[in-house]
Structure formats: structure tokens, C-alpha cells
């Protein structure tokens, strides 16, 4: 019994601890992290952060953990942060492609002697990988052996704002160390609000800043450097220690033009006289060249002088591996702004430590021609001749005739431990300038086109002359051909008057040629073939139902028209793609009403169903007639030549016999029998299909309606000549 009680007690205590402390067990093995945690341990495996996750106590991220940040995912750490990756088992913190999350924020004061320790972690594709928010405080910070690569945010890669300011002498300081990290292919800088401070002692050493693109504007300034911050004379007990770093191929990129403007390595401002920046590799062995990538007193006399001499002529071997020097195959200097116009035979790369090129892929990306944006990539073959830390590449692929403006990329490089080494790009600056040049030309042409279009509009709407403005378009270009299909609905004597779509609809096919007369006026000629049919049985009128007539006629019409376009016919802009048109026209129509009697189709006109052959005073009606119509179109212009749209036209016929039913009295049966009609049975039937008593009535009664029809459908039109 005692043993059971002990077990129950242990279980109860365990549950109580779990509930009260809200400890990490919930998070372990959980894919999506959300909400607040007192403590959190993120173990090896995939985790997702889609929203704000706050850890009030210690946050531990273990080796092998992969955390995907989706926008607006952010991880706020208010206590200790321990990211314990290992050389062989990194932690990966990355943004979901196309929906990149923010990153990790260190926030608040933690007086429990807690630390921030981040090692062997990869921060990739994030908006702001690491932010030490204003008023943060920990006993120390160590960011070592990490990879900050391809982060997309343009604010900062690491941003360190000030801890709480204390006028009283505070003997505690924060050791802030950034050591042996690789910063590569990022879009932003490492920023310290105060590099020199009473509260933070900054040490930045052994890092590689390689191929970062700092976004700004064309003017080079303090903040457009891959590492920058303030250095003041007061409240500045601790000088920053920034040594043994390598700064290679870091550039300021103009936000607007997306072109490389300037080398951008280090910038400083504040009231200090001098900031130490010695023993760093700064991308060159030439002092004047180095000076270009440092924003200091040499550029602006209000800012401190950066004391960068002596500088290193090559990066330290302990820095993350990278290629720091590119030379031509004859070992001559290769300007980073070189415009590649002819195939290279090869090149020489120098790295600070051993780089594994065994899986390297050399690609040439180039424009296919001299003006368009058509781009092509080709993978090149090469031979390698290693010579210590220098490697000679001889390109064996034949690029003769293929070389256009482009750049080489050498990717899939590794260091001796298999870790990431930044890609090497050759000729990229000139390529991006060329891309910009082509963009500018395209933009200029677009603006010119819009200007031309605007000019053609001539917005003096109060003048009737402007609506019919003469156009300068050549004769051939004024033609537009249109094919159309849809349905035709008869609305005459034999029809349902109360519901248009309660009538028969028959297929319509047609072709139309349009000719632009003026800016808003065009003439058209249509040929349409369609059928009309209907039956009194479709009517809601009892008198019509009792009449019981039906018919079907093939129609062939030739219709000239004149149309008013609400927008300029020849104007093509993206904002005015929808173009309505109204018009009127004349119809020349051939028709031939038919109907079925006892399984046989009869032409009704020769039967004289209105007594035309039975009464000598009457004549048979003509099967060719005139008419007039009103049409309406809405055209959607796909491009300058092609359009699609919907059309609707209402036609009134001058003949009342499209359905064979005109204003004739019902003929007597006796007169039909006496006539010379070939098919008397059919004539008798069609003259009065229900055989009802119709004495004194007209065949088109009860309403005596004239004949009309409605054509509706869709069309495709194209300008014949461009």
C-alpha cells in the first residue's frame, strides 16, 4: 500500500511541476510553436514559427534543430538564450521562401546573470536575424562560428541597440563577442547603436564579411556599410576591438536602380576622435582602394577617423573560408567592375584557407542579345590546378560566339570540413549595370508610348470635333477583322413577347470588317449567317398558343454599320483595355421560312399560306428584305492587335414575313383547294395549323407585331495589318 501511495505521490508531483511551470514538454516534438512560454527547449527536428513566440525564461535550442520562420513569425527571448549547435550538427534558423519571417529578438533585462550564447548556427533568408532590442541586458553575449547567409531584410543582419542607460556608475559590463562568423550574401549590415560604451564591450574578430549587398541610395554614407555604428567620446569606457576580420566584395547597392554603387565595409559616426580598426583584411593591398570602403573623417570631417593601418594583406586562415582574390589567368589584376565581352580562358582564385572545389559548378549567365532581357545560363567545364591556397581554373568549354554581356558564378564550394563557402562572382557589377541600362531603355520606351497615347487622347471633351478627330494611322492599319459567334433570337409575330430567353435561340456565325474613320468613329461591314425559329407554343399569350404556328428560317445578312467608340479606337493603354461601342446599321437579309408537315420540311413562301396564291389581288412576299439595327459591343483589348468581347444587336426587319406570318386574313380552305399550289394539304395546314374557327381574323393577330430579332454573342477581333 505504501508503495502505491509513493507512486501516486510521484506522479502527482510530476504533473504539478509540469502544469505550474508550463515547461518545455509541450514544445518538445511539436512542429509549430506559438504563444508564450516560461521556458522552452527546442530539440533537434523541424519546427515552425508563424507568429510571435515569447519565451520569458531560458530558451535553449539544441543541435540539429531547424526552425522555419514564416512571416510574421518572430521569436522573442526575454531571458537566457543558448543555441548550442556543433560543427557537425548545426542549428538552422531560416525564413520560408516567399514568406520570410523576422528572426530572434533579445529583449528586456535579465538580472539572473544569464547569457546569450549562439554557436554553429545558420541564419538564412530572414528579415532581421538577430535584434538586441532597446533596453536589453544580459551578462554576456557570444556569437561564434555562425553563418549569416542570404538574409533578405534590408534593415540589419544583427542590430545591437543600447542596454538601459544608467547615470550611476555601473560596474557591470556586457561582453559582446562576435567571432569567426561568416556574413555572406546578405542585404543588410551589422549595426551597433554604440560601438564604444560604458556598458558594452564589443569584440568583433575573426569574421568574414563577404559579398554582402547593403541597400541604400547612390550616396555613400555611414549606414551603407556592412559594419557600422556610433562612437562617442562621453560615456565610452570601452573601446571596440575589431580586428582580424576579412571584408571582401561588400557593396552598396542602389535601392532604386538595383545596381552596385560603391565598396562598403565600415562606417562610423559620433564624437570620438579615432576608432581602432587595425589588422583587418579590407579587400585590397592598396591603401587608397581600402579607403574607398570606409566612411570616416576622410569623407566627412564631423565623424571619427578610422585607424585601419596596419591592415592585413590577406585574411587570416582562421576566418571562415572564402575566396578573397580573383586574378586573370596571366596573374594580372582583375578589376571587379570588369565588363565581360569575350570568353575567358580561365582565372586564378586565392582563398584564406583550404577550399574544396571538387564539386564546384562554374556557370556563365548572359543576355541572349544586345537589347532584350532574355537570359541564358550555361554550365562550363574547367580544369583545376591547385597550388597551395591558390587555384587556377582553366575553362575548357568553347564559348566563342556565345559570349554576350554576362557574369561567371562559381558555386557549391566547401571548406575542408564541408562547411559553406560563399559563391564567387566575376563580372557581376558590370552585368548589373547592363541590366539597369536595359531597364532604363525599356522604361523610357514605355513612358514614350504612354506619352504618345496621352497625346492622341486630346481631352477636349466639350468639342464635337475631338470626338471625330482625324487620325494619322495609315490606311491599312485602320482595318480590323472580327469573327463572331453566339445566338439569334426571333422576337416577331411568332414569339414569346414577355421573355426574350423564353424563345428559341439558334447559333450565329459572322465576320465583320471594321474601318477606323476618325478617332472615335468607325464603319463596319458584317456578314452573318444564322437561323431563326420559334413556335407559338412558347408564348404566354393564349391567343397565340391557340394559333399554333411555328417556323424556322435560315438567314444570311449583309450589314453595313457606323459605330461610335467611347474610347479612342487606336489607343492602347493598360488602363483602358475595356472599350464600349454603339452603332447603327442597315441589313440586307435573305430569308426562307420553312416548317414541318407530317415529317417533311416545306418552304412556306411557295405555299401562299396567307392566301397569296389563292387571291388574285395578292402577290407572294419577297424573301429578300431590308432592315435596320442598333448594336452594342464591349471589347477587351488583349494587346495592340488582338481583342475579345461581347456583342448584342437588335434588328428590325422591313418584311413581316420572316416567320411567314404577315397581316393577311386567314384564307378559306376552299380557295386554297382551288389554287394551283402543289402541296395543298401542307398549305391548308400551315395557313391555320389548329384548324380553329378564325373567321374575320388576321394571321398575325392578336398583336400584329412586326418582325425583329436579337443577335448576341462573343467575338474575337484582330487588326489585320500591324
Amino acid at each position: 500500500m505504501t508503495r502505491y501511495l509513493k507512486s501516486i505521490k510521484n506522479i502527482t508531483i510530476t504533473m504539478a511541476i509540469m502544469v505550474l511551470a508550463n515547461i518545455t514538454i509541450d514544445a518538445i516534438g511539436q512542429d509549430t510553436l506559438a504563444g508564450d512560454y516560461n521556458l522552452l527547449v527546442i530539440k533537434s527536428g523541424l519546427h515552425v514559427i508563424k507568429e510571435t513566440v515569447t519565451v520569458k525564461g531560458k530558451l535553449e535550442i539544441q543541435a540539429g534543430a531547424k526552425i522555419e520562420f514564416m512571416d510574421p513569425g518572430i521569436l522573442i527571448c526575454e531571458g537566457e538564450l543558448k543555441m548550442a549547435g556543433t560543427q557537425n550538427d548545426n542549428i538552422e534558423i531560416y525564413g520560408k521562401p516567399m514568406s520570410e519571417g523576422i528572426g530572434i529578438v533579445i529583449r528586456g533585462v535579465d538580472n539572473n546573470a544569464s547569457i546569450v550564447d549562439i554557436k554553429y548556427s545558420i541564419f538564412k533568408g530572414l528579415q532581421l536575424p538577430l535584434l538586441f532590442d532597446f533596453g536589453w541586458k544580459r551578462s554576456s553575449v557570444s556569437i561564434a562560428n555562425n553563418y549569416f547567409i542570404k538574409n533578405i531584410g534590408k534593415t540589419s543582419v544583427i542590430q545591437v541597440l543600447n542596454p538601459p542607460f544608467n547615470l550611476n556608475i555601473d560596474s557591470t559590463k556586457i561582453d559582446f563577442k562576435i567571432e569567426h562568423n561568416l556574413f555572406s550574401d546578405n542585404n543588410a549590415a551589422v549595426y551597433f547603436e554604440d560601438l564604444k560604451s560604458d556598458h558594452v564591450q564589443v569584440l568583433i574578430t575573426g569574421n568574414t564579411f563577404y559579398g554582402n549587398r547593403i541597400y541604400g541610395f547612390k550616396n555613400y554614407n555611414i549606414s551603407t556599410n556592412v559594419l557600422y555604428g556610433r562612437s562617442d567620446e562621453v560615456y565610452a569606457k570601452f573601446n571596440p576591438f575589431i580586428e582580424n576580420n576579412s571584408f571582401s566584395f561588400n557593396y552598396l547597392v542602389d535601392n532604386i536602380t538595383d545596381t552596385i554603387v560603391h565598396i562598403s565595409n565600415f562606417g562610423v559616426y559620433g564624437s570620438s576622435k579615432v576608432v581602432g580598426f587595425k589588422h583587418n583584411y579590407l579587400g585590397s593591398e592598396i591603401k587608397s582602394q581600402i579607403q574607398k570602403g570606409i566612411y570616416d573623417q576622410a569623407i566627412n570631417y564631423n565623424v571619427p577617423k578610422v585607424d585601419f593601418e596596419p591592415f592585413l594583406n590577406q585574411p587570416d586562415a582562421l576566418n571562415p573560408a572564402h575566396v578573397y582574390l580573383i586574378r586573370k589567368i596571366d596573374n594580372s589584376i582583375l578589376a571587379d567592375t570588369l565588363f565581360i565581352k569575350e570568353p575567358w580562358k580561365g582565372f586564378i582564385l586565392k582563398s584564406n584557407s583550404e577550399v574544396d572545389f571538387s564539386k564546384a559548378v562554374l556557370k556563365y549567365s548572359f543576355f541572349k542579345d544586345d537589347s532584350s532581357f532574355k537570359k541564358s545560363d550555361t554550365v562550363l567545364k574547367y580544369d583545376i590546378q591547385p597550388n597551395g591556397l591558390e587555384t587556377k581554373f582553366t575553362i575548357t568549354s568553347n564559348l566563342v560566339g556565345l559570349i554576350k554581356a554576362g557574369f561567371y558564378t562559381l558555386s557549391k564550394l566547401m571548406d575542408k570540413n564541408g562547411a559553406y563557402v560563399p559563391d564567387v562572382k566575376l563580372g557581376y557589377i558590370a552585368y548589373s549595370n547592363e541590366l539597369r541600362r536595359r531597364n532604363l531603355i525599356t522604361e523610357a520606351l514605355k513612358v514614350q508610348n504612354v506619352m504618345d497615347s496621352v497625346k492622341k487622347q486630346i481631352p477636349q471633351k466639350d468639342s464635337i470635333k475631338t470626338a471625330f478627330q482625324k487620325i494619322e494611322t495609315p490606311f491599312k492599319k485602320r482595318f480590323e477583322i472580327e469573327v463572331k459567334t453566339g445566338g439569334a433570337i426571333f422576337l416577331g409575330t411568332i414569339s414569346n413577347k414577355s421573355s426574350i430567353f423564353g424563345n428559341d435561340m439558334n447559333m450565329l456565325l459572322g465576320v465583320n470588317v471594321n474601318y477606323s474613320l476618325f478617332s472615335n468613329l468607325s464603319a463596319g461591314l458584317s456578314i452573318e449567317s444564322f437561323k431563326l425559329s420559334n413556335s407559338d407554343n412558347k408564348s404566354n399569350n393564349n391567343e397565340q398558343i391557340a394559333r399554333g404556328m411555328s417556323f424556322s428560317t435560315s438567314m444570311l445578312s449583309i450589314s453595313p454599320s457606323i459605330n461610335y467608340d467611347f474610347t479612342d479606337i487606336n489607343l492602347f493603354t493598360k488602363v483602358k483595355k475595356i472599350k464600349p461601342t454603339v452603332g447603327v446599321g442597315l441589313d440586307i437579309v435573305s430569308f426562307n421560312p420553312t416548317a414541318m408537315y407530317n415529317g417533311t420540311v416545306y418552304n412556306l413562301q411557295p405555299l401562299g399560306t396567307g392566301g397569296q396564291y389563292a387571291d388574285s389581288t395578292k402577290k407572294p412576299y419577297s424573301t429578300l428584305t431590308f432592315g435596320y439595327f442598333l448594336n452594342f459591343k464591349i471589347k477587351y483589348q488583349l494587346n495592340i492587335s488582338n481583342s475579345v468581347g461581347v456583342h448584342m444587336s437588335y434588328h428590325v426587319s422591313m418584311s413581316n414575313y420572316l416567320d411567314d406570318v404577315g397581316p393577311d386574313p386567314y384564307p378559306s380552305i376552299a380557295s386554297l383547294l382551288k389554287s394551283k399550289i402543289a402541296n395543298k394539304d401542307a398549305a391548308i395546314y400551315f395557313s391555320n395549323p389548329t384548324a380553329r374557327n378564325v373567321l374575320g381574323q388576321y394571321r398575325n393577330s392578336p398583336d400584329g407585331a412586326g418582325d425583329s430579332y436579337l443577335n448576341i454573342g462573343v467575338f474575337y477581333s484582330r487588326k489585320i495589318f500591324k
Binding site: 435561340m505 425559329s533 424556322s552 407530317n598 415529317g599 488583349l638 395546314y685 384548324a691
Partner: protein
């Protein structure tokens, strides 16, 4: 790109729906048509047809009709009912083309009889019925429409 796809789809759908909605021609079978000529379609004011006796031939020879005979009318209702001017009631049916079967209850004789006529011809105005008489002669009755 998306808007172009929508435009094309809409265009295509309208074209297809226009074609599919086109009227189809309905052909009335000959048997049905003959029934309609005889008794109407059943639509408004076309629910019955009355046929008035016009002439009679026995073995090809015209028979002189009395006024009463000339006023004799057969009325066929579209639903198969029948009555005539002699106050006889009955039914009619055409199960085979040109064969009109009538079942008539003769009010005066209080007798029911069945008779099958051959339809010699029928149109919207004229009906010719033929029957073999009990004496072996062939009678042809011509009726005209009398609605």
C-alpha cells in the same frame, strides 16, 4: 496573366453556352401527327376537332345525303373521347397509322359497338374514312373540318 486567363475562359464559356443553347428541331412522328390532325394537340383552344359529313360514296358512287345527314358531325377530343351530333358517346384511338378505331355507345339503341375505319386521307380540313359494310360494299365518308 491571371486576368487574361479569366477573359479567355469567359469568352470560351459564352461561346460554348451559345452553341449548346441553340434550338433543336423536334419532329412529330407520323402517327402522332395524324392524331393531332384528327383531334387537336391538346393546347389551348385546340382540344377537339369536329368533322362534318360532306359526302358519301358507296362502291365509288355518290350517295345523295339528306339535310340531317349533311349536318352530322363527329367530334374527336385529343384525350381519346368521342361524341357526335346524334348524341352518341364513345372513344377513339389510332394505334396503327391510317386505322381509326371507334367504340361508340349508341344512345338511342342503348348498344355499344366497335368499328375500325381506314383513314383514306386526312389534312387540316378534310377527313376521308373508308369502311367495309356488312353487305360487302365499301363506303367512303368525306368529312370537312367544322370547328
Amino acid at each position: 496573366m491571371k486576368s487574361k486567363f479569366i477573359i479567355y475562359s469567359l469568352f470560351f464559356l459564352i461561346a460554348i453556352s451559345a452553341i449548346l443553347s441553340c434550338a433543336k428541331t423536334d419532329t412529330i412522328p407520323a402517327l402522332q401527327f395524324q392524331k393531332q390532325l384528327l383531334a387537336g394537340t391538346g393546347k389551348y383552344q385546340n382540344t377537339l376537332h369536329s368533322w362534318q359529313l360532306d359526302s358519301t360514296k358507296i362502291n365509288g358512287a355518290n350517295v345523295l345525303l339528306t339535310n340531317t345527314q349533311k349536318n352530322f358531325k363527329k367530334t374527336f377530343l385529343f384525350d381519346g373521347a368521342y361524341f357526335d351530333s346524334d348524341n352518341n358517346l364513345g372513344k377513339w384511338e389510332i394505334t396503327t397509322i391510317n386505322k381509326l378505331k371507334q367504340t361508340i355507345i349508341y344512345q338511342s339503341l342503348n348498344r355499344q359497338d366497335s368499328v375500325v375505319y381506314d383513314i383514306v386521307s386526312i389534312n387540316a380540313a378534310q377527313l376521308n374514312l373508308s369502311i367495309k359494310l356488312s353487305n360487302g360494299q365499301t363506303a367512303i365518308y368525306s368529312f370537312k373540318i367544322s370547328n
